[in-house]
């Protein structure tokens, strides 16, 4: 036990002096997620808020053929500009970006409209540009509303009930609560949290195994009267300590960043405060030794720092697999899923975000499965360290 603590202290101190470890474990790893996430989400939100506030701009060619339609659009707050473009002029203008959407009213519009035949208009837009497509959708919806109004008037004049034209009334009931909607946005925050946990221990796991071998200090260490399990245990403990630090910094950063993200502007409330951060920490804690033991196990089999780095970058991606699987099949929280590490942490954290109650059993199963697998990985690592091939 004393040897284990000695190893822990030395690994902790040594890496505290390593700029590369500090950068990846305590700066880049924990802060990358919150900053990227904050920037992305606020841009996403600002954009959708802006778009619905901003007036729709439409360039109209041949507006004189449909004065009522033009008046209707103007009354709906559409900013109109009038030109006399041909279809190809309009195409060029949209392609070049000088016009967003062009509405072309052809000569025969008036004649066909009066004859109660479908009167053609053309909407020229670029559907590959999401901004442009949204404008075109809004214009189409307005023209559709205008057309419906005309259709109703026409049937009334002919003595028919306007309801004849509406055989089915579709009513959508959206059950998304404001918090629920925020969860969709915050869903991938959970991956960033797990990512920071692993990043916190990445360099330690490499440095204390493959790094020790590459430096040539391993052989002297292995010739000491110290049980190999104490060596592995001390190194694991130091790795876990850095992972916890990284996790704490990450959660604190999320709490701060989310104060500046205008979630409430879309009617969402995500209560990410100190309490949520603590709950996240408790949920992720059993994942820490599992991540540390897995990374140490992989790194122990590699010959060099560089090789360990290559393999461990793929270990960083492992937690995404269950999370991606869960979102593809939209899995709901279920006790059996608590057996899958990373997925169980993801689901539990999502439940916290949604303000849903968490079953104590789920929490226990999630922790037990992570800790059980961690013990297996640790045993495998210790076994490898007892073998003479460890010397490399």
């Amino acid at each position: 036990m004393r040897a284990l603590l000695t190893v822990f202290r030395k690994e902790f101190l040594e890496n505290l002096r390593d700029r590369r470890t500090l950068f990846s474990a305590l700066l880049f790893g924990p802060l990358f997620g919150p900053i990227l996430f904050g920037a992305m989400v606020s841009r996403m939100l600002n954009q959708s808020v802006l778009e619905s506030d901003e007036p729709l701009r439409v360039t109209v060619s041949g507006g004189e053929h449909a004065p009522n339609l033009v008046r209707f659009l103007a009354s709906q707050g559409v900013k109109l500009a009038f030109t006399a473009w041909s279809e190809s002029d309009a195409r060029d203008a949209v392609k070049r970006g000088t016009a967003v959407v062009v509405l072309i009213v052809p000569d025969e519009f008036a004649q066909r409209f009066t004859a109660a035949l479908p009167a053609p208009v053309f909407v020229v837009a670029d559907s590959s540009d999401s901004q442009n497509r949204k404008s075109a959708d809004r214009l189409r919806a307005l023209i559709g509303a205008y057309g419906n109004g005309i259709a109703q008037l026409r049937s009334q004049i002919r003595g028919l009930s306007p309801l004849l034209a509406v055989p089915i009334a579709v009513n959508e009931i959206d059950v998304t609560t404001p918090t629920g909607r925020a969860v969709v946005v915050l869903g991938f925050m959970t991956y960033f949290v797990l990512f920071s946990v692993l990043m916190g221990g990445l360099y330690l796991a490499i440095d204390s195994t493959a790094g020790e071998r590459e430096r040539g200090s391993l052989e002297a260490l292995l010739s000491l009267p110290v049980a190999r399990t104490a060596l592995v245990g001390g190194k694991l403990l130091a790795t876990c300590a850095y992972m916890c630090l990284s996790l704490a910094i990450n959660l604190a950063a999320f709490v701060v960043v989310l104060q500046f993200v205008p979630l409430e502007r879309l009617g969402m409330s995500a209560n990410v405060g100190a309490l949520t951060a603590l709950e996240f920490f408790a949920i992720c804690l059993p994942f820490v030794p599992l991540g540390a033991a897995l990374m140490m196990l992989v790194a122990s089999f590699t010959r060099s720092y560089r090789e360990a780095q290559t393999y461990l970058t793929s270990v960083l991606l492992v937690p995404t697999l269950p999370i991606a699987f869960a979102s593809i099949y939209s899995l709901k929280t279920h006790s059996a899923l608590m057996l899958v590490p990373s997925l169980s942490q993801h689901l539990l954290m999502t439940s916290v975000l949604k303000d849903e109650p968490i079953a104590p059993l789920d929490l226990a199963v999630s922790a037990a499965s992570a800790l059980g697998l961690a013990a297996l990985a640790l045993a495998a690592t210790a076994r490898h360290w007892r073998r003479e091939t460890m010397l490399g």
């Binding site: 004393r2 040897a3 000695t6 190893v7 030395k10 101190l13 040594e14 890496n15 002096r17 390593d18 020790e212 430096r215 040539g216 200090s217 391993l218 052989e219 002297a220 260490l221 292995l222 010739s223 000491l224 009267p225 110290v226 049980a227 003479e388 010397l391």
Partner: protein, 248 residues
């Protein structure tokens, strides 16, 4: 006292060490001499217990290294072939890390580190980080690290590699001093002058076998050679002739 009896080790189809037996006594410096690939490092690694022999046994002060590993290792200081240090720790921290792992108390460690620092001439760089050290400074730290628990036996694998003349002289003095204090020292080298200058006893290894074993003087007279170099070449060529005979 370090004893090897019938040590064997094979890696795949290669027999690296075959039936190696010898004894390094207390108060003596024993040299393990042999060309590259003779099995020196493999033999030493079995003696300090990081390799498991396929046959035979290794004993430190009569304690089997495989049986009571910790007790045997506690009596042994080791300077491996590549004695890597921790660059981000100071010389003192490097040395004390090993001391703590040997179970020394803080006070005992402090006193011992001060002694070693004085004896090895390390006072100038004890509290500097090891990162920028010269090869000579590194070896001193590694030797101090191997001696922190005041072991009665010391194994050094090619300790003079990469050292300049001054550093080599310095190391020789340290080893002679340890010998004067009754320690058992076993070191390997492929440089004959090195062995001739320092050793009381020589074990010559070739192709994984002990080709000759004895006190420096008796070895020279027995082989009728004027120098150790000649003796060394004689046993090596005899061994080669014998191997060729076996092949036929």
């Amino acid at each position: 006292m370090i004893e090897a009896s019938g040590l064997c080790k094979r890696f795949g189809t290669i027999e690296a060490v075959r039936e190696v037996s010898f004894r390094a006594a207390d108060g003596e410096i024993t040299g393990l001499l042999g060309p590259n690939g003779a099995g020196k490092s493999t033999t030493l690694r079995m003696l300090y217990g990081v390799l498991t022999p396929d046959g035979g046994s290794a004993r430190i002060d009569g304690i089997d290294i495989r049986g009571e590993t910790s007790a045997a290792r506690g009596r042994l200081g080791v300077l491996p072939h590549a004695p890597g240090l921790y660059g981000n720790l100071t010389a003192r921290e490097n040395i004390e890390y090993f001391g703590a792992l040997h179970g020394l108390s803080k006070d005992a460690m402090r006193a011992r580190t001060a002694d070693l620092s004085r004896a090895l001439g390390m006072d100038g760089f004890m509290d500097r980080r090891v990162k920028g050290f010269s090869q000579g400074q590194r070896i001193k730290v590694a030797v101090a690290r191997a001696l922190i628990h005041d072991p009665s036996n010391l194994i050094l694998d090619e300790p003079t590699n990469g050292l300049d003349v001054m550093a080599i002289r310095n190391l020789r003095e340290i080893l002679r001093d340890l010998k004067a204090h009754g320690r058992c020292i076993l070191f390997s080298s492929h440089v004959m002058q090195e062995v001739a200058a320092l050793c009381d006893r020589v074990v010559i290894l070739g192709q994984g076998r002990v080709l000759a074993d004895g006190a420096l003087e008796s070895l020279r007279s027995r082989l009728g050679a004027a120098s150790l170099e000649e003796a060394f070449l004689t046993v090596l060529s005899e061994a080669e002739a014998q191997a060729a005979g076996e092949a036929l």
